[in-house]
């Protein structure tokens, strides 16, 4: 039942579109009823006409003939209108859901969304959102129409032929609910296993492609292929079993409905013979049952989708309801500019029970200080930055930024003053301009040009087909590693932040490309507090005055850069 509470909540998210959704649903019901009406009235009409012909009596055929025409128009127009209206409502709902979810997740990132870094969990979130976006179209509308149709069917039988309810009600329950539920239960295990096995096939396949050279070098390619095809064969066997059940369901439910027709005729026979029911109504009721069943046909699918949606909603809401790791102060304190930075006994743990990522960090950086933070991977360099950005709560100690403890200031305000140029430059699938001004939405044309020049991107921009308007990434222009870094440098420059963090800025670049980047980096770091995070200083030494070494989550030492380079760099 909790699942359905989640679905109610989903509905309430879309309450602004309630009227549209209701309108679409109304049109769907109208079209469905018109379809049933067409067959039902037609059945009654031809039976009544035949009887009148046989008896040689007069009959008012204008009303039923007009009704048939009306049903025909309503069915045609209603169906088109319904599909437009429901899709429009669904798209509006989609926009609301996305906007809501994104705004809920923003404050949770990254501390509470560690799981989303896993490609698989992220893919599941995507799939869940897809399901929820389709929910109105594949669950609510057809399910609702089926329920309304079933209700009318039962009401019609209760009115004309109550005794047939003994057949109709159990048949409806069996065909629309029991049989699909039974089959679902039989296939549940297989369905779950198929998902896992497919994930495994996916994993092994990625491995086979990524590790192709190694597999060939080891002569292990056949073994890997065997493993993949084995997982695939298992999944295929399960799918075949599921297909058998589905095929059974696809034929069993209509079979039950047809048998019910025979049952209705059996019930009606004595009633008609005794003259309690006009024979024309019997024909009408049989056609009503046949046409009404068509309405019920989507019910099993809707029931499955409802469960899927309920589970998806549960997961999405569970994620969206996570409390942010950090609370922002109601009245943020004002920070000094340019800010000094101070760490005092800072300890940080990513999760309960996890080892300390930072363990007693003490560090002072005056405004304008230029330091390198050097240490092996796992020494806590990145954690230091994450803590400073107010992304994670501290276990112990205090960080002050611009004279204010981080708890007293707004995280967004702190981050606005810290520009980061990272190891893995993130470019968005948008235009170059949009990518550049992400951190400074109101940047002026000449400011952008200046940043581009400082980052030595002019030649790159000139070569682009649409200049600043060129799309980057997938579907747009591919950007090399060096260019991507330059774009992030220009972006950081536009941010006009007093603190600049360079996180392994030349990692993964060959030495010439790295060399060429230094000029841009020097331009970016001029007049700012600079923290260069790296596991090897090498050429980055020219960007800093001091070197802070980190080991096992705390500061190991701090020396002038001349002393560090002189002491370590081999001839």
């Amino acid at each position: 039942m909790r699942g359905y509470a989640n679905l109610r909540r989903l509905l309430s998210l879309m309450r602004q579109d309630r009227l549209r959704m209701l309108g679409g649903f109304g049109l769907a019901v109208l079209a469905a009823l018109a379809a049933v009406g067409l067959m039902t009235v037609s059945g009654w009409f031809i039976a009544a006409m035949a009887l009148a012909g046989a008896a040689g009596t007069a009959i008012n055929y204008f009303t039923p003939a007009a009704l048939i025409r009306l049903c025909a128009i309503l069915r045609t127009g209603g169906r088109y209108g319904e599909r437009l209206a429901t899709h429009d409502a669904a798209l509006r709902g989609l926009a609301r859901l996305r906007g809501w979810l994104l705004r809920r997740l923003i404050p949770l990132s990254p501390a509470r969304l560690a799981g989303l870094r896993s490609a698989e969990l992220f893919a599941r979130l995507r799939a869940d959102i897809d399901v929820l976006e389709q929910w109105y179209l594949v669950v609510l509308v057809p399910g609702g129409v089926a329920l309304v149709g079933t209700g009318l069917l039962i009401a019609a039988f209760a009115w004309w032929l109550p005794v047939a309810l003994l057949v109709v009600v159990p048949a409806v329950c069996m065909a629309a609910l029991a049989v699909p539920a039974l089959l679902r239960q039989r296939t549940r295990e297989d369905a779950a296993a198929v998902v896992q096995e497919t994930a495994l096939v996916r994993g092994h396949l990625i491995d086979a492609v990524r590790g192709h050279a190694e597999l060939l070098a080891w002569g292990a390619d056949a073994a890997q292929a065997h493993q993949i095809m084995q997982c695939d064969a298992q999944a295929t066997a399960r799918r075949l079993r599921m297909a058998r059940h589905e095929a059974l369901g696809a034929s069993l439910s209509p079979l039950i409905a047809q048998i019910a027709v025979l049952g209705v005729i059996g019930c009606a026979y004595p009633v008609v013979m005794h003259g309690h029911l006009a024979p024309a109504f019997l024909v009408m009721l049989v056609l009503l049952l046949l046409a009404g069943y068509e309405l019920m046909a989507p019910l099993p699918e809707a029931a499955i989708q409802a469960q899927t949606a309920a589970r998806a909603a549960e997961r999405v809401f569970a994620l969206a309801d996570v409390q942010p790791a950090l609370r922002e102060p109601p009245v943020p304190a004002v920070m000094a500019r340019p800010p000094g930075i101070r760490f005092r006994g800072v300890a940080l743990r990513y999760e309960k029970g996890a080892p300390l990522a930072l363990d007693g960090v003490d560090l002072d950086l005056a405004p304008g200080a230029r330091v390198a933070i050097v240490g092996a991977s796992g020494a806590g360099k990145t954690s230091l930055i994450r803590a400073l950005q107010k992304f994670y709560p501290l276990e112990k100690g205090e960080i002050t930024f611009g004279g204010q403890p981080l708890e007293a200031v707004n995280g967004d305000d702190v981050r606005r003053q810290i520009a980061v140029i990272g190891q893995h430059p993130v470019l968005f699938n948008r235009s170059l301009r949009e990518n550049l001004v992400l951190a400074a939405g109101d940047a002026r044309e000449e400011e952008i040009a200046r940043a581009v020049e400082a980052a030595q991107l002019q030649a790159f921009v000139r070569a682009l087909p649409d200049g600043y308007g060129t799309l980057l990434g997938e579907g747009g222009v591919r950007v090399s590693g060096g260019e991507a870094r330059r774009i992030t440098i220009a972006r950081a420059l536009l941010q006009e932040a007093p603190v600049l963090i360079l996180d392994e800025p030349t990692e993964g670049l060959d030495s010439r490309t790295a060399q060429e980047l230094f000029t841009a980096l020097e331009a970016a770091s001029r007049g700012r507090t600079v923290m260069v995070v790296t596991h090897r200083l090498a050429g980055l030494a020219r960007l800093v005055d001091e070197v802070v070494t980190m080991e096992a989550g705390h500061i190991g030492g701090r020396v002038p850069v001349s002393a560090y380079v002189g002491g370590f760099h081999p001839g």
């Binding site: 031809i46 046989a54 926009a95 990132s109 009606a268 024979p279 092996a376 699938n429 030495s511």
Partner: protein, 571 residues
């Protein structure tokens, strides 16, 4: 258009089961006719008891038989089609996998590898509904109307004429409308997809957006984009739904026409009631498969989209013929003689000649793109030079049995691939026959033992997407451990194998390499010069040619390419 042809060609592979499924569809169609016929007779016998053409129970019994046969045929038809579709998918996967594994790694790398997995799993699965549902439904949409119209003609030629006159319009109009809809959809498709993907992109990069202080702004921007997305989609749908409107219109109009015509002819004694009712019962069945086909249209579109990307997989590259010669027993002399090599039309090696001698460490340095990694690949026998030869102890590498040769070589890549499975599986993949003492020694000498000690389940800890992630340094240790496991290797090829290690570990590993070099041929590709400085011999590569070689100390003292690189790297 090519995708259509590809789909059709693949369809031919399962034409037998598809024909069988078609046979079941025809059987179901006949049963449907029988079902309508006997139901009409049953009802007619009740409405006009005196005109009954036989006992009631007989019609009832035949009706039961007909619905039973129909259910059976539908179920079997679906099972047959589904099994054929699953079989085809497995075959395709196997075929593509075999093809991909036969490519040399350089060719495979040129084919955007991440995308390949999606194509092999999701792409092939996207074909499923097309073969299992769409094609059988398409044949039903032909078989059912033909059989139904013939039966209706026999019962009442006037109704038959109405249907024959209206039915042909349906496909014509659907094609006309559908064609326009497809074009309209195509035009907007790229734009739609970009808008749809923007949300997922934002979700995936929330932390970056927060760092840039752009999260809120992007969320607001997405709201506006969702609205654009909705408007564009609705424009497409308004046209796309026209095809269902056409179908709905003709279905409805012909049923209404038939009902009214039959009614009046019954009144005028022009037609037997059972024949009239039979036509009315069967008329909706005529359109049902066409309408069902409409709901499966997306299955065809998705299959076409998938075929678009699948059809080219087998086109790329052809496996080179393998040699048969025996691999050398002891450390060989490796040499490139005037080798030209390129991929994707881009020349990489342009007359490269060099010799790598056994018993010493040779370092290969040069700018990225100079061809260093390519040389490693060629030495493994991946890819063949356009001209010139790669030799092993003077013999052309192409004449050696590649499997035997690779068994003598250990490749230590820059970023070793982590395969889904336990750490043990990851190690033994490189050498399935390694015994426990060898494994222990390899762990110790690579420094992986300290990593294993900290893992929750030691060697059995699952790695990869579903398991523990390894840091860059740990990954390189894994690569080294794999190499040390291959005790039979007399050639070691290191591709920048210590870049992610801290200085001390790198030194440690360097010593191990030096020790191993006494009985092996060792080639080190170095992006960083530190590793080269300790080698016995340095080969400097520039623009696909060797520009300088010799002992590092000697080269450093000359004013050549090497000392220029040294000067550039110095802070």
């Amino acid at each position: 258009m090519e995708a259509v042809r590809w789909l059709r060609e693949e369809t031919l592979r399962i034409r037998r089961p598809l024909w069988r499924a078609g046979g079941f569809t025809a059987l179901a169609a006949f049963a449907t006719v029988g079902q309508a016929w006997f139901l009409a007779r049953l009802l007619a016998a009740i409405v006009f008891p005196r005109a009954a053409a036989g006992p009631l129970w007989k019609s009832a019994l035949f009706f039961l038989v007909a619905i039973g046969v129909r259910a059976y045929a539908v179920s079997l038809g679906r099972r047959t089609a589904e099994a054929a579709s699953l079989g085809l998918r497995t075959d395709l996967r196997k075929r593509f996998l075999r093809h991909i594994q036969s490519l040399d790694p350089l060719t495979l790398r040129a084919q955007a590898s991440g995308d390949l997995m999606v194509r092999l799993v999701d792409g092939i699965d996207a074909l499923g509904p097309y073969y299992a549902r769409y094609l059988p439904q398409a044949s039903a949409a032909v078989i059912m109307p033909v059989i139904a119209v013939l039966a209706i003609f026999r019962a009442d030629w006037v109704s038959g004429l109405i249907l024959v006159c209206t039915a042909p319009f349906i496909p014509v109009f659907m094609v006309l409308v559908g064609h326009n809809a497809e074009r309209a959809a195509d035009q907007r498709f790229a734009q739609l997809r970009r808008l749809g993907a923007a949300f997922i992109e934002a979700l995936g990069h929330l932390t970056t957006l927060r760092e840039l202080g752009a999260a809120q702004r992007v969320a607001d921007g997405l709201d506006a984009e969702s609205e654009t997305y909705r408007q564009l989609t609705m424009q497409v749908l308004r046209i796309a739904f026209l095809s269902s409107l056409v179908l709905e219109f003709f279905t409805t109009v012909s049923i209404a026409l038939i009902a009214v015509f039959i009614g009046f002819r019954l009144l005028a004694h022009d037609l037997a009631f059972s024949a009239g009712l039979f036509v009315l019962l069967l008329a909706p069945e005529l359109y049902a498969p066409l309408r069902a086909l409409g709901t499966l249209r997306h299955a065809r579109l998705e299959a076409l989209a998938a075929a678009e990307s699948l059809q080219h997989i087998e086109g790329a590259g052809r496996p080179p013929p393998a040699g048969k010669g025996a691999a050398p027993a002891a450390a060989p002399v490796l040499a490139l003689q005037d080798v030209y090599f390129g991929y994707g039309g881009q020349p990489v090696l342009k007359g490269c000649s060099c010799t790598i001698r056994p018993g010493q460490v040779t370092a290969l340095i040069g700018e990225s793109g100079a061809g260093k990694s390519t040389i490693l690949q060629l030495l493994l026998g991946f890819g063949q030079p356009a001209s010139g030869v790669v030799t092993v102890d003077g013999k052309d590498l192409a004449t050696l049995d590649p499997v035997g040769w690779r068994a003598r070589v250990s490749l230590i890549p820059q970023a070793p691939t982590v395969f889904t499975g336990s750490l043990r599986h990851n190690l033994l993949l490189a050498m399935p026959s390694a015994d426990p003492p060898t494994l222990d020694r390899a762990l110790k000498e690579s420094g992986l033992d300290t990593v294993v000690a900290r893992l929750p389940a030691g060697l059995e800890t699952p790695l990869g997407e579903h398991g523990v992630g390894l840091s860059g340094g740990q990954l390189q240790r894994l690569g080294l451990a794999r190499a040390w496991l291959r005790t039979g290797a007399c050639v070691w090829l290191f591709d920048e194998a210590t870049a992610h290690l801290d200085r001390e570990s790198a030194q440690c590993i360097g010593e191990r390499i030096r020790a191993g070099a006494s009985t092996r041929t060792v080639l080190l590709v170095a992006h960083r010069l530190e590793a080269a400085q300790k080698a016995d011999w340095v080969i400097v590569l520039a623009d696909g040619r060797v520009v300088e070689e010799g002992p590092p100390a000697m080269l450093a003292s000359q004013a050549g390419a090497y000392s220029a690189l040294l000067a550039a790297a110095a802070p």
